[in-house]
């Protein structure tokens, strides 16, 4: 008659015969020879009544025999599937064995317990060895699926352990720790988890790169590596670390401080591997400006890494210090790349040849678009520049220029905002310098308006830049543009207006025909000259273009209409009039519409 695990008689239970007894350790205890429960009872009682006098260690011997057989049976079982559903009993026996050992150790050495203790110690080590090996097998998920042998039931996601596996590992871990083998357990765990993490990184195409090699890489190759690294980092900060922590907590659920320590050590090791690459970006000096964004990406990935909570254990300090150092270095690189922008602007001489037609200069476009893109990383850049100032011991002077108006308040500008202002000032100076290459003052003003307007447009498109530069900066710009507009108008059109001024046409109270003829001649010449030239000029901003045309028209057309209206009757006949009055007011209106189109062939009506 067999007994079930809890000692009840079950009539239907089949009795294992002697030949099977080695194959089923879970039911070993139901063998008649062992009387499991009885043995446990005896042992418990024995421990209770243990004294330094005569002790009969027979029940201990029996217990040891039983444990020995159980261990032997488990050893024969297939690796990684040793412990089934009924493992609890075995673990309890192992724990009990340890308890016995501890109690026996307390006895004085002459109590005759020593040889029993020795045997118990041997059994204990054997049990621990069994547990350790099973622990290792369970942990060593072979991630190289090509090996063919799929041994454990696994799940698809990292860390690939089934809940049953984790549960068994948990029991093993607890038992080993309880029984004084914490060191072996932790070494096994750390070693195999590190191996698994390395394998996981391999799957993500992680490769160690030498500093030496990185130094020689072309930017194209480096960019690929950076992209790969960023991808891996993301996976780590989003998944790997948290999964690993969960695993630690699950396997060592009864020992949170051990879980914490192991996780801390593992994350530090993992981080050291990840930091090798950014550390290897030891940086040949001059990275051109577009490279900025990759470095900002790296900076952000490192910042995310740094923000991970990995606990307070000692190795965490190493983790944080190294992450922090490399993050700073990358930040410094970003600062120096951004500063390249200033160099580029200052040294852009355009070869002393002005842009045709006074159009928006490529440098203006480049700079504004660059800044717009850069401001997508605004928060990171703020941090980077803040840090840079701290490290250089720079402090922002509390002078008026360093305050930015925002929402009607004056706030101190951040280091990055000040940098932005610097760049804008440099750009301004450069545009100013380039404008002087134009000999025609009018073209100069058009050029200044074009570029100024473009800058303001871009500002409107990016609230970040706008906010950083502040309202007063934009206001100043806008009023400057208005000024240029006025100056242009005066420079180009005041002479023309003079030709159609009513004053000075009369001599001695009478309209002088020669003067009139002269006036019209001059008007035509000047106007045509302007048309010829200024049609080739470019104003790409639609609004600016129409503003200019409208303001010209609104002055020119009424003046012309009134002049023509007043004086055309003084010509002898329509033929003569037609000779001098080449244009009707409507013609003037149409022709003004041709201005600033950038046409290389001028379309002047010949009559």
């Amino acid at each position: 008659m067999g007994k079930s695990q809890n000692g009840e008689n079950l009539g239907t239970e089949t009795v294992s015969d002697g030949g099977d007894e080695q194959n089923n350790p879970d039911e070993l205890s139901s063998e008649p020879g062992f009387k499991f429960d009885q043995i446990l009872k005896d042992v418990d009682q024995f421990i209770e009544t243990l004294d330094s006098g005569e002790n009969n260690f027979t029940c201990i011997d029996q217990f040891l025999e039983m444990v020995d057989s159980e261990i032997a049976a488990y050893e024969l079982r297939k690796a990684s599937a040793k412990f089934g559903l009924n493992m609890e009993e075995f673990f309890e026996a192992v724990k009990l064995l340890w308890t016995i050992i501890r109690r026996l150790e307390e006895l004085p050495s002459d109590s005759g317990a020593t040889s029993c203790l020795n045997r118990a110690g041997s059994e204990h080590h054997r049990a621990m060895l069994l547990l350790e090996n099973e622990f290792r097998t369970l942990l060593d998920i072979n991630t190289d699926r090509n090996e063919g042998e799929t041994k454990l039931k696994t799940v698809e996601e990292f860390p690939y352990f089934s809940p049953e596996s984790v549960s068994i590992m948990n029991r093993i871990g607890s038992t080993m720790i309880f029984a004084g083998y914490e060191a072996e357990c932790c070494i096994a765990y750390s070693g195999l988890r590190l191996k698994a993490l390395d394998a996981e990184l391999s799957k993500l195409s992680f490769e160690n790169i030498n500093v030496d090699d990185a130094e020689r890489m072309s930017w194209e190759s480096l960019e690929v590596e950076i992209g790969n690294w960023l991808h891996i980092m993301k996976h780590c900060t989003n998944n790997l670390f948290s999964e690993e922590r969960t695993l630690c907590n699950s396997v060592f659920s009864e020992h949170p401080s051990i879980a914490q320590r192991l996780f801390c050590e593992l994350s530090t090791s993992l981080t050291m591997r990840l930091l090798n690459f950014p550390n290897a970006l030891v940086l040949p000096r001059q990275y051109s400006t577009e490279k900025l964004f990759k470095f900002l990406d790296i900076y952000e990935a490192l910042r995310d890494l740094n923000n991970m909570e990995i606990g307070n254990y000692l190795s965490a300090k190493e983790f944080m210090s190294d992450t922090f150092t490399v993050q700073c270095r990358i930040g410094e690189t970003a600062v120096s790349i951004f500063s390249q922008l200033e160099n580029s602007i200052e040294s852009d001489n355009a070869g002393r040849i002005p842009v045709a037609g006074g159009a928006v200069h490529p440098l203006t476009r480049y700079t504004m678009n660059y800044l717009k893109y850069a401001c997508e990383y605004k928060d990171t850049l703020e941090q980077v520049f803040q840090k840079h100032n701290e490290m250089e011991g720079l402090t922002v002077q509390k002078v008026q220029e360093n305050y930015i108006e925002k929402d009607d308040r004056f706030l101190p500008a951040s280091p990055f905002a000040l940098k932005l202002v610097e760049v804008m000032d440099l750009l301004d100076a450069n545009i100013e310098m380039k404008s002087k290459l134009y000999r025609s003052p009018s073209l100069r003003y058009i050029f200044l308006m074009n570029n100024g307007r473009y800058i303001l447009q871009k500002l409107k498109e990016s609230t970040d830049i706008y906010d950083m530069l502040g309202h007063s900066w934009s206001r100043k710009r806008t009023s400057e543009l208005r000024q240029y507009h006025k100056l242009y108008q005066r420079d180009t059109w005041s002479n023309v207006l003079q030709t159609i001024s009513h004053e000075g046409v009369q001599v001695n109270g009478k309209v002088s025909k020669p003067i009139l003829k002269e006036r019209f001649k001059n008007f035509n010449a000047l106007f045509e000259e302007i048309l010829k030239t200024q049609s080739t000029w470019v104003v790409s901003d639609g609004q600016l273009k129409s503003e200019l045309r409208v303001s010209i028209s609104s002055v020119m057309i009424p003046a012309y209409r009134s002049f023509v209206g007043r004086f055309q009757s003084y010509f002898d006949n329509s033929k003569q009039a037609g000779k001098y009055i080449k244009y009707q007011p409507e013609d003037i209106e149409e022709l003004i519409e041709q201005l600033f189109e950038g046409n290389t062939t001028s379309m002047i009506r010949r009559s």
């Binding site: 020593t114 020795n118 041997s122 060895l129 591997r273 940086l283 490279k291």
Partner: protein, 389 residues
């Protein structure tokens, strides 16, 4: 840090003299003076660490503590060298020949040294792993009463320890799969089988085909003492710095396990007829001899603590092998002494490994910073000609 006071006063002296010089081209005499002073500093410092007093065995040659001192000396020399090179000089001065060749070469060597630092940092993980195994052995062997269970436990840990020490030399590259020969597929599996598997998890963090011995060899190329009119002044300074750097890196590689050290050269281009190099030459010979002796047998590096651990470990394995309860009294006593020694080695490792790891990182970052600073100065002189990357 050893010698911080002497270092700071050295730097102070230099900066004062810089300010005194009116002519910005830095008179040659001053250069020579600086150089002499520097040479003396180097010589003194290395002599200091060579003479370890006998009564403190754990500051012995090539111990963790000794290596920390060596690295401190290195950092001090590096700082002074950089100061002499850069203080009060502009780009023009340091980019004229032969410096236009020597300085970039120096910076290249610095980059190679960085890889060595990484490899060493990695190797220290192995050392720590050995420490943990040794601690298990100590724990088991110190048990009272001591029985066969504890003996077997200690033996298992020690066997793992010894095999971990020898694995690194045979298998250099990362990502080799473990052979799972420790699984218990057979009946009555060998309980004492050493567990090869777990060390492989500490894979090397350097590139797959990287070789420490090749790296050192590359670093020694073109390290020649300057001749003729260049012999004094900055070229000499650079030569000294190269020498020190190569030497220190070489010592680290010899002491601490790292990838692929087969064929590590025992010749470094240290000139023999110059008086300040005596100490370096002496150290080189001593370490070189040890290396040659042990290399054939395969070993985990000449680190004093590791060597001791190996010796004690082997002896204690023999003890546990033949141990039968209750054990022979004299053997047990002998073992107890060795266990106590082993415990002390572990203690030294516990105290010293952390700081050593941090020191290696510091060396790494310092080299990066110095390299950047030197490049910055060179940049200012060659602004327009440097190609934009």
């Amino acid at each position: 840090m050893t010698g911080t006071d002497t270092q700071s006063s050295f730097l102070g002296r230099i900066s004062i003299r810089r300010n005194q010089v009116n002519a910005m081209d830095g008179s040659h005499e001053q250069e020579i003076e600086d150089l002499d002073l520097f040479q003396k500093q180097v010589s003194d410092r290395f002599a200091e660490i060579l003479s370890a007093p006998d009564d403190t065995p754990f500051d012995a040659f090539l111990s963790i503590s000794w290596i920390r001192k060596l690295l401190d000396v290195f950092l001090g020399c590096e700082a002074e060298c950089k100061a002499i090179l850069l203080m009060g000089r502009d780009a023009a001065q340091i980019s004229k020949p032969p410096l236009d060749r020597l300085i970039p070469e120096l910076l290249d060597r610095v980059v190679k040294a960085l890889d060595i630092c990484n490899a060493i940092a990695n190797g220290l993980e192995l050392v720590r792993h050995c420490q943990k195994l040794a601690e298990i052995a100590v724990l088991a062997l110190e048990q009272k009463p001591f029985g066969e269970g504890q003996s077997k436990r200690a033996k298992k840990a020690l066997v793992s320890l010894i095999s971990a020490m020898h694995l690194d030399d045979k298998e250099g590259s990362a990502h080799k799969t473990t052979d799972r020969n420790w699984s218990f597929g057979r009946r009555g599996g060998n309980k004492d089988r050493p567990l090869f598997g777990h060390y492989k998890s500490l894979s090397w963090q350097v590139a797959r085909n990287w070789s420490a011995s090749k790296q050192i060899h590359a670093m020694t190329m073109n390290v020649v003492p300057p001749r003729g009119p260049e012999a004094s002044g900055l070229p000499s300074l650079i030569f000294i710095m190269n020498l020190i750097m190569v030497f220190v890196m070489w010592v680290l590689i010899a002491a601490i396990p790292c990838q692929e050290r087969n064929g590590l050269t025992t010749h470094l281009p240290i000139p023999k007829n110059v008086n300040w190099t005596h100490t370096l030459t002496g150290l080189l010979e001593k370490i070189g001899d040890e290396w040659k002796k042990k290399e054939k047998k395969g070993m985990a590096g000449l680190l004093f603590e590791m060597q001791k651990m190996e010796k004690l470990g082997q002896s204690l394995i023999d003890f546990t092998d033949s141990f039968q309860y209750p054990g022979e009294k004299d053997k047990v006593e002998e073992a107890a002494k060795q266990v106590a020694e082993l415990a002390e080695v572990c203690q030294r490792m516990e105290e010293g490994l952390g700081p050593l790891q941090m020191l290696i990182r510091e060396v790494f970052h310092r080299l990066v910073r110095s390299r950047t600073e030197i490049l910055d100065v060179l940049d200012q002189g060659a602004k327009s000609s440097a190609p934009l990357v």
